[in-house]
């Protein structure tokens, strides 16, 4: 099982993952699950009615708009970074936070690399399954490396143009 790193108030720590990733063909196990968007659209109502917590895995080519009405009921949205440095999940994450005001966990899954950790945090991710074996400490160092940012994004950091106004 991949390590799960959670980021709260700029502190990164390794946590036990209460969720099970369930692939499309697989049994729905018991307990809290993360399923694909397709599976959610088929079985979501039932899963939620069973009282479990439900997360949805959104592939890079899928759009979070499809979840617009379900978001309040979702505990996790897991956004996938496919291999070959595909940044579509950055847009999905920002939309979840900024456009839909989603407050649950936004988790980075797939090819999750520490060099992009700071960007992920800025786009609204708060949980990570690193693919490069990064520890919580390394992850935190990577997210905190830059003292300033130039533009507004989904985090609450003040961009340079605000800082400069003092």
């Amino acid at each position: 099982m991949p390590t799960l790193i959670e980021l709260k108030d700029t502190l990164a720590r390794t946590v036990d993952d209460p969720f099970t990733h369930v692939a499309d063909g697989d049994d729905l196990a018991t307990g809290d699950v993360i399923v694909s968007l397709t599976r959610f659209q088929a079985d979501g109502e039932r899963l939620l009615s069973e009282g479990r917590r439900v997360g949805v895995r959104v592939a890079a080519g899928e759009e979070v708009e499809a979840l617009a009405y379900d978001l309040p009921r979702l505990s996790v949205v897991a956004l996938d970074f496919p291999k070959n440095l595909d940044g579509r999940a950055f847009s999905n994450a920002r939309l979840l936070r900024e456009r839909y005001g989603y407050r649950g966990e936004v988790r980075a899954v797939g090819d999750v690399l520490r060099e992009y950790a700071a960007f992920m945090v800025r786009c609204g991710f708060d949980a990570f399954e690193p693919a490069d074996g990064a520890s919580a400490n390394e992850w935190q160092a990577a997210t905190g490396r830059y003292r300033h940012v130039y533009q507004r994004s989904a985090d609450d950091r003040s961009p340079a143009f605000v800082e400069r106004q003092g």
Partner: protein
Amino acid sequence: MYQYDTVDRQMLADRTAEFRGQVARRLSGELTEDQFKRLRLMNGLYLQLHAYMLRVAVPYGSLNPTQMRKLAWIGRTYDKGYGHFTTRTNLQFHWIRLKDAPDILDHLATVDMHAIQTSGNCIRNVTADPYAGATAEEVDDPRVWAEALRQWSTFHPEFSLLPRKFKFAITAAPKDRTAARVHDIGLVLRRARDGALGFEVIVGGGMGRTPYIGPTIREFLPANRLMSYMEAILRVYNRHGRRDNNYKARIKILVAALGTEEFTRQVEAEWAKIGDSVDLPDTELARIRGAFTRTGFETLPARSEVFEAAKASNPALARFARNNLKPHKKPGYAIVEISLKGIGETPGDATSEQMEAVADLAERYGQDDIRVTHEQNLVLPHVKLDDVAAVWAGLHAAGIATPNINLVSDIIACPGLDYCALANARAIPIAQHIAEKFRDPDRAEKVGELKIKISGCINACGHHHVGHIGILGVDKKGEEFYQLTLGGSGAEDAALGSSLGPALPYEKVADAVDTLVDVYLRERQDGERFLDTFRRTGVTPFKEAVYADAH
């Protein structure tokens, strides 16, 4: 010029510290080449044929003398005493050692320079009009907006893993010196009838394997809404641009596939939802604008007797003045172009001594301002006419007073197979051979404006598609061949060149260009440029002449 403050400086410091750690991890074996490659590319460090190449960003082509001297020093200390200015107005060092790269980045940071986003699928260096702040043609200073774009695009969290690289050009003059219509986004500043400032937004131009002249998707975007509109375009591109095929991943393919109308509709819909929270407040725009306001101009007569007398007694200076001087918005001043296209030299190369000479001249006579053009030349944008003779003498002593701006020997050429790992054929020696043919400056002047642009492969770093004569290196059965195109233009009358005929072998290219010029001189009517004649006559007379001996 824009001055870095603490915020800007700390961004660079954080970046160089990060890179130093990454290089150490690579050298110790902790990182494999696969893991490291993308990290070094994020810092402009490529592996080429003979060594590493470091591409240093020159944001919107603007340099001060201190920066230029530092580049000269780096060239002397870590390279072979020179640097190469590129068509993105950046500077490349071609003989860099990996183990030196962190130190070089530290040295660059001391003069507010870096190699950030000079590679990778992110927003690259913005091209701006090299005459910005000096030409009377412009409706506003495009550097203000270029600097705003620089900050907005630096480490942009959402747009750092785009489908492909992304390039902006921005100009505020009707005469386009930025090739705005062949960029991913071209921005042309305009004033509305009521005096309001706005941008014409051109999206999806480009060169490479599938060249396009970009369509205008908005005639007038209120200037203060620039950032949110750019964010909307980039978001549509980030989400919908193709990622399955590198050759189809640029935004031009998306725009062409959706059609301009549908693409525009998607951008406008996204823009409406984004709102204005990412737009820069007027205070920040005013702060940036203040950095570019130049107050040091003297009130001078439009004509300088000193200069006129100097020209009368020095024909070489007079020739330089005819070709390399451009009108300045202030009477008694001129824009001085410095050609890095000495006959027989490598286009865009400057030695450390030459860089230092330019820095000295800029300091003494040029209000500390130096520009790099996408045509691989330098510009001193603010020189008093009274001082032009002294500037010329300084350039002459440094071997960079070549009087050929916009002439047939002012050739753009990418590094090609002499350096570049992606090349099919050499570009530099082709440029040298052609320039040799026009060594006689009288003949070159008689030919007039003629833009020759050479790329060593279809990636088109040498902008061949938009050359009046474009030359593309191809690999034909394993040998260097060259495909010629005619009639391209990267200016306000942007056009893609059309093919002349079958590709020519290396030895035939310079002669073919010579023939093309002869045909033009024979066919041209009053005042026509090469491009105008070609547009009137079409390809036939040119084609017949070049391929005559093949029949």
